[in-house]
Symmetry: C2
Subunit: 418 residues, 2 copies
Amino acid sequence: MKYQPVKGMDDFYPKEFAIREWLSNNLAQEARKFGFTQVSSPALESLKLLTAKSGDEVKEQIFFTEKKGSEELGMRFDLTVPMTRMFVAKQKETQKPVKWFAIAPMWRYEAPQKGRAREFMQLSVELFGSANPEADATCINLIIACMEKVGLTSKEITIKINNRKLIEGLLAELVPEKNVAQLVQLIDKSAKISSEEFAKQAKALDVKKIEDVQKIISVKGGPTVLGKVKEFKLNAIAKKGLDELESTLALVDKKYITVDLSIARGLAYYTGNVYECFDKEGKYRALAGGGRYDELVRLFGGDATPATGFAIGLAPITVMLAEKGLIPKLTMGPEYYVAPVDEKVLEKSLEIAQKIRSQGKSVDIDLLRRKLNKQFDYANSIGAEKIVIVGEKDLALNQVTVRELKTGKEEKVALNKI
Amino acid sequence: MKYQPVKGMDDFYPKEFAIREWLSNNLAQEARKFGFTQVSSPALESLKLLTAKSGDEVKEQIFFTEKKGSEELGMRFDLTVPMTRMFVAKQKETQKPVKWFAIAPMWRYEAPQKGRAREFMQLSVELFGSANPEADATCINLIIACMEKVGLTSKEITIKINNRKLIEGLLAELVPEKNVAQLVQLIDKSAKISSEEFAKQAKALDVKKIEDVQKIISVKGGPTVLGKVKEFKLNAIAKKGLDELESTLALVDKKYITVDLSIARGLAYYTGNVYECFDKEGKYRALAGGGRYDELVRLFGGDATPATGFAIGLAPITVMLAEKGLIPKLTMGPEYYVAPVDEKVLEKSLEIAQKIRSQGKSVDIDLLRRKLNKQFDYANSIGAEKIVIVGEKDLALNQVTVRELKTGKEEKVALNKI
C-alpha cells in the first residue's frame, strides 16, 4: 500500500519548496530591513495557553496531542500566542520596544481550500512596547514593503482597515453592551453569510435597528470616508478609536488604504486598529492581517504592554503570484555535473567533484555507472549547467572536457585549471 | 500566571535563533554543493505510516494527536520516513537517483538532556536509487564537508562505521537466526548499559558464548582493522557486508573513519552500511548518523529501490561548537537607527528610514518618542551600527547628522546624499 500525506497538509517537492523559500527569504529580508529580528518557538504549547484568549472557533480547530506526562498539549494555531509568551518571559530584562518576527508552520483543523491548508506557513511580525501610531504604521508599511518586494502594488492590492474601539463604540449605541463582542464576531463573518442570515443572527443579539448596523459596516473607501464616520454618534471609545485610526493613516502610504468598517478580524485579542490585505479583484483569501492587541501580554501574566503585529500567509500569496506570473524562474540544478566515462575513472571523478566543490560550486556526479548519453539525460533533467566529462584519454593529458549544457559548447580544461 | 514553554522544547530568542540559522544555512549550502535539493513535508503523518517500520522504542516516543476525522495522526520523529513516502509518490515520474534534503523540526517524547530536546531539528539527507558504494561515500563525504564547514576536523571528530549485513552475518553464527535482530538492538544499547546487564540480556537471546559477541563488537580502529574481521567466520551475508564496507571506505577520506562493529543504529530499517559521527573525546552525543535502507521504499508501497542517507542533529553540534568557541560573532542589529529629536520631525524621520531601506539597508527607528540619550541607549542595546539624528535645525539645512556608534564619529550628510 502507498501512504498519502495527511489530508489538507502539503508536501513541498523541490520546485514548490524553492518557491516557498524564495518567498519566505524575501519576507524575512523586508522584516529585517525594518529592524525586526527572527525568533522561533516549539510547535507544541500547553493547551492552557492556547485556549487562554482565543475565539471559540479557533479552540475547535486546535490539534491537541494525547496526554504525555502531566501536561496537556496542542499544536500552535498562530505565532502571536507563542511570541507573546516568549516576550512575557523576558519582559523585565529587555529594552522596549521588542521587535520580533517568525516564519513557521502552524496547524488548524478546518475544511481545506485552495490557499488554505491544515498546515500552513506565515510570516508573523510582533511589536511589543509601543502604543504610538508609528508602531501600527511600521507594521502596515512593512506589509506594503513585503508586497512590493514580490511585485504586488496598489494596482493589485489594498489594505482594508478598521479600529476595534471605533466599531465597538459605534455598536455599543445599537445593542446591549454585553452583546457587542458577539456582534463584532458576526460582522467579521458577514461577507461569508447571506444578508437574511446576518439579520437573523443580529436580531438574536437584540440589535434594535439592523439598518443602523448595516449603515455603519457599509462605510468603505479611501481614508477620506472617515468624514462620514464623524456623522455617526461617537461615544468616548469610538472617538479614541477614530483618533488611533486617523493618526496611523497619517503615517502610511494612503494609496494602499481602504477604510472598511466591516473588517473586524476573528481573533478575540484585538483592541485597536485591525486590518487585512486583499487583492483588489477579490479573487483570493486575505493575503495578510493584523492589528493591535494591547491586553494580551497582561492576560499571559506579563506587565501590561501595548502590542501590535500582523501575519502574512505564504499560501494565499503564492497562489496569487503564480496566477499572475510573478514568480521568477528559480534555478535548482547544480552548476556542474561530473560524468565519469567508465568505472576506471570513478575515483578520479569523485576527486574532481570535490575540488570543484571546494571552490564553493555545487556539483552532482553520476552514482549509477551509466553510459555517457544516459548521464547527459540525467544532467539535463536536474537542470545542471555544465558537464565535466572525465575519460582516460583526457586524463592521460591531464585534462577533462567541459560541456555547457544549454549551448552544447565544449572545451578542454587542464586539471590544474579546473 | 506566566506560561512556560512545553517541557523539553526550546524557545529560540534572537541570539539562539541566529546561531541555529547560521548552522542550518551552512549545512544546507553543503548539501546543495553535493547536488541535493531541499524538500519539506508536514509535521503530522498518519499513525500507520509512522509505525510501519520503526523500532518499538520509537513508537512509544511518538506524539500522536486526538483523532480528527477518520485519520489517526502522529508527529514525525524523523525525516527519512516522510521523505521516503514522498519519494514513493513520485517514483515513476522522476529520474533516478533522487537526492533530497530537509532541515526541519521533529518530535520525540523522551527524557530531555543537554543536546537532546523533545522538539529537535535535523538536517536529513536522503539518496534514492543507487546501490553503489559511491552513493554511501557521497553521504559520508557530505557529513565530513558539513563538519569542516563549521570548523570541525579529523582532530576533533570521527565517523564510526559498521555494516548491518556484516554484523548480522557474524551474529547469525552465534545466536538463533530469529534473535539476530534483537541482539543487534542490544549491541546498539551496549555502551549505555553495564556489561553484567549486557551479558544477562544476551543470555536471554540464547547467545551461546558471550565472549564471541564481545570479541566481534570490540573490533574498533582505522580501516585496517577490517583485516581482523576477515579472521572471523564469514558467511555469505557477512562477506557481502564486508565488501560493501570496504568499497565505500575506498571512496572516503579515511582519516575520518573508525571501523566499529558495535555501531548498529537503533532504527529497524537499516540494511547495509551504518555510521555515526562522534567527537573524539566522547563528550557529546552523536553529531550525525546514517546508513543504507534498501527495503524501506518497498515497505512503503514503492518499487524496490536502494536508498541511503543520514541526519545531522543541530542541537548536539551547537553544544559542541559553543564549548569549543567555534560559533562566530553574528550581527543581528540593524545597520541604521533613525533618531527623531522630537515629535515634530517624526513624519520626516519615517520618510528618511524608508529611503535608506529602499537602498537595501536595515533601519530601525524610535517608536516611543524618547529623548535622544534614551534613544542612543536603545540603539546600542540592539546593536545598531549608525544613528541618523533627525532634528529641525539640520532639516532646515537639508541635512541630518550620522553618528557611528562604535567610534562616536559624527558627520553631517545632505538629505539627497543619504
